[in-house]
Symmetry: C2
Subunit: 206 residues, 2 copies
């Protein structure tokens, strides 16, 4: 028995023993994202991640219990949640800049496979599905705020959520099916169409 007999039960001890290896943790996270991107691999499992990271299986199982947990930490780490909030002064300009940025990001060869892999895992793992719901909800909220800044120009009963889902629906639909591009011209036309739908099919006076 240690000499310090009295100890708080709620806080048993600060820490003893060898500390966690940050390099190993980072290797696991990057390996998980790399596997998600490569896509030629089958389902993302912890042994596969461990092998790709050059790490013992036990090390991975010690810190994470599912691949979804690894992805959650990895994608949160990459801080990719930053969404631009342009302010060009006009609804048309803000929307065009936002959509061009979003479509460009989604079509980027470095990130598109990661997004597709996220969908693949979300279809299989409930935890990954929750991660994806949070991810998309953040993006929708940003676009919703952008639109509501110009709500004074809208027709009386415009459904803002419908406009938001048309934009992100098109993004994910084309990203997953891959039948049509997600380029700047698409973003420009999409912005024009959404503005036309929002203002109610009537040309603005000014």
């Amino acid at each position: 028995m240690p000499s310090t007999g009295a100890r708080s039960e709620t806080e048993p001890r600060a820490h003893t023993g060898r500390r966690r290896n940050e390099a190993t943790r980072h290797a696991v996270l990057t390996a998980a994202v790399r596997l998600l991107r490569d896509a030629d691999h089958g389902p993302l499992t912890l042994p596969v991640i461990a092998a790709a990271a050059g790490v013992g299986k036990q090390t991975v199982y010690r810190w994470w219990s599912t691949p979804g947990e690894v992805l959650l930490e990895a994608l949160a780490e990459q801080a990719s949640a930053q969404v631009p909030t342009p302010d060009t002064g006009s609804l048309d300009g803000d929307l065009r800049v936002f959509l061009q940025s979003s479509l460009r990001g989604a079509a980027d060869p470095a990130t598109a496979p990661v997004l597709r892999g996220l969908v693949r895992e979300a279809a299989r793992d409930e935890q990954a599905a929750g991660l994806m719901r949070t991810f998309t909800a953040t993006r929708r909220a940003a676009l919703r705020r952008l639109l509501l800044r110009h709500a004074d120009r809208f027709a009386p009963d415009v459904d803002v959520d419908l406009l938001v889902d048309q934009a992100y629906g098109l993004l994910w639909y084309r990203l997953l099916i891959g039948h049509a591009p997600l380029d700047d011209d698409t973003a420009r036309r999409l912005a024009e169409g959404l503005v036309a739908a929002a203002v109610g099919g009537v040309a603005p006076p000014g």
Copy 2:
């Protein structure tokens, strides 16, 4: 050796032996769709399908080599490829009827899980992915034809494919994320918005 010595080599024989059991074949197909719908099961594999159909594994492996093949035959069998082509005389009316029918079909509790399951399999199996590409391409073509019937009302440089993908993008996006409904009011508003985008943000004279 049989008495009929002479026989064509290109056409060895019509058929001999026990014939294929149609009831068994049907049981396999319906079991596959049922498993796709239930979704609580893991990946769709041939042994799982065989067990669900109450059929020997060898019987399933004899006729199909992948779950994607089973799904292909099952969904083709159900003839769910029939897409309505309304003709109400007006762009607005045609579009509203078409979208209400499509959104209703996608949100139907009997079919929505099947569509989600199809996405799940498409994310895992390349054959199922091809099936889904064909499935969605058929739907896009139908909506595209509907829109082009009223192309005379469109603004000069309207991108019809963009309109189509806004509609189906919203459908799949809401179907998969599940954050907003796919009801008749959504279809009505979506039709209005697409018309406004198509005619170019200017109110029609008549």
